[in-house]
């Protein structure tokens, strides 16, 4: 199968000498649900943001859907970005705008300015927006202002907005890090279900190793800007996890049931 996204020797240096990414090379195939794990500061956010060039890489190539992202002009970049949905840790909704308009923002790149200003989105888009909101259980909040929602609800709107782009690739940078465990569960479940239904390729940054094991078809471990693990969840052993989080064990977020928490927790301090 041809990869949807190929990353070759990706390097990102912030300022003079903060090497956030240290030469990462990976292939991502259609339909994969990839979870990226790693301690704080490992470079997970930098990695995911380089893909749609919210962060400009210093070296290397990012080939998405046949296009060299790192070489694109501003105009072409916008077009490619419209094929990549993104979900953020802090949801990044426009708070004073209502829920359905926030979802329709996913279609802005396909609508001329005057139409979007007059709310003249295509009927199919509006219909799909409503259907998506129904699917995530927000049918009663359609006309509420986004800043009146709870965190979990906001993130579900964020998912709908990204899906309405009808993207080929979905990026999520710690989508559940700001949520309570219950909402986190719902959001993660819905993100997984929807991307499965739409046969989307997903790259998700997570801190929670148990979620990674539950949903991922492939896990990538990043440490100090380099890939230290790349494989199926079943191959991610406890020793491997300990190695990825070596020295930063306190950041490991596991549920008690795995039995890892105690063993790892004792290493803390």
């Amino acid at each position: 199968m041809k990869p949807l996204l190929t990353i070759k020797n990706l390097v990102k240096v912030y300022g003079k000498d903060t090497r956030a990414l240290n030469g990462i090379s990976l292939d991502f195939y259609p339909g994969e649900f990839i979870v990226v794990i790693g301690p704080s500061g490992a470079g997970k956010s930098t990695f995911i943001r380089c893909i749609n060039r919210l962060v400009d890489p210093s070296e290397g190539a990012i080939i998405f859907d046949g296009q060299h992202m790192e070489k694109l002009s501003w105009r072409k970049l916008r077009k490619e970005r419209s094929k990549i949905g993104m979900i953020f840790q802090h949801y990044n909704l426009v708070g004073r705008t209502n829920v359905i308009k926030n979802v329709l923002h996913g279609q802005l790149s396909n609508v001329p300015l005057y139409k979007s200003l007059l709310g003249l989105y295509r009927y199919e888009d509006k219909k799909e927006a409503v259907e998506l909101l129904k699917k995530v259980g927000l049918q009663d909040q359609i006309y509420k202002r986004a800043d009146e929602l709870s965190g979990g609800q906001m993130q579900r709107v964020g998912i709908c907005r990204a899906i309405l782009q009808r993207p080929k690739l979905l990026l999520a940078d710690e989508p559940i890090a700001s949520l309570d465990p219950l909402s986190a569960n719902i959001v993660m479940q819905q993100l997984h279900t929807i991307s499965q239904e739409k046969k989307l390729t997903c790259i998700v940054n997570l801190h929670q190793v148990d979620y990674a094991k539950k949903y991922a078809t492939r896990i990538i471990g990043i440490k100090k800007g380099a890939v230290v693990f790349d494989g199926a969840p079943s191959r991610l052993t406890d020793a491997m996890i300990r190695d990825i989080y070596e020295g930063k064990e306190s950041q490991l977020k596991l549920k008690g049931e795995s039995g890892m928490q105690l063993a790892v927790g004792q290493n803390d301090e």
């Binding site: 749609n52 916008r78 970005r81 993104m86 990044n92 300015l113």
Partner: protein
């Protein structure tokens, strides 16, 4: 632990000498100004009774006979404030976008706009008025122009600060999904900016009502002209009732703007 050593626990780390120096410096400035300008508090104090006498003798009772004749001037004054606020808010919005780092990535353009706006703002409007009267001659257009210039200066800076405060996060989502610059502006920046926009604009309107009442004193039209002429003609009673009208207008304006604020922000 030795109990004696914890006897004194200072609540501040700063030394008191610095505070003392600052207070002394502020006081010295006052002394200097009074001495340099030869202001005599005694004269001031002694003059107070004759001022009060003068006020009650000449200004009282207010002469409200011609109240109806002020109406055109009152309308003029309010009209200047409305027009100048209206025009300024549009131009200032564009400048605000050009000044804020959130909406303008070109540093040179930001710096130039900021500099220009700062000149507008830092020349007091009464001086703009006097300058423009010199250029255009006496009349209403001068008043409006003077108000517009200063209000653009004031609003551009305030708008830009409010646009800066809109977190980049929200705009990042639109940037990431391929929206154009103007879509980010209209769908991301403007909705979040609305409350600040209403607030600043109403505030500018209040200032402009006050200012346009004063503009007449330099011959730039409005109700201020009436005060000026009446005082020059020694018609103090009439001047007094005009002043009363101005106070009423200003109080009414604040009443209205405050209720709008409560409703919309």
């Amino acid at each position: 632990m030795n109990n004696k050593t914890i006897h004194k626990i200072p609540l501040d780390q700063r030394d008191s000498k610095r505070t003392f120096t600052v207070v002394a410096a502020i006081f010295a400035m006052l002394i200097f100004s009074v001495v340099y300008l030869k202001i005599s508090f005694i004269d001031m104090f002694m003059g107070l009774p004759s001022f009060v006498m003068f006020f009650f003798e000449k200004f009282f009772p207010p002469n409200a006979e011609n109240l109806k004749q002020y109406i055109p001037s009152v309308v003029d004054t309010l009209g200047y404030a409305v027009i100048s606020t209206y025009i300024s808010t549009i131009i200032a919005f564009i400048f605000g976008i050009l000044i804020s780092e959130n909406t303008n990535k070109f540093k040179t353009l930001r710096v130039i706009t900021r500099g220009f706006v700062s000149i507008l703002r830092n020349i007091p409007f009464i001086i703009w008025g006097a300058l423009l009267v010199y250029i255009f001659g006496i009349g209403g257009i001068v008043g409006v122009l003077a108000l517009i210039l200063v209000t653009i200066g004031f609003l551009s800076k305030s708008y830009a600060e409010s646009i800066d405060e809109i977190s980049g996060d929200k705009l990042e989502a639109l940037r990431a999904n391929g929206s154009s610059y103007f879509q980010i502006l209209f769908h991301g920046v403007i909705p979040q900016f609305v409350p600040a926009w209403i607030n600043w604009t109403l505030f500018a309107f209040e200032i402009n009502v006050r200012a346009s009442a004063v503009l007449g004193l330099v011959g730039a039209g409005g109700i201020g002209v009436l005060i000026d002429t009446n005082i020059n003609l020694f018609k103090y009673e009439e001047a007094f009732s005009i002043i009363a009208v101005i106070v009423m207008i200003i109080l009414l304006t604040e009443l209205v703007t405050n209720s709008i604020r409560k409703r919309f922000v």
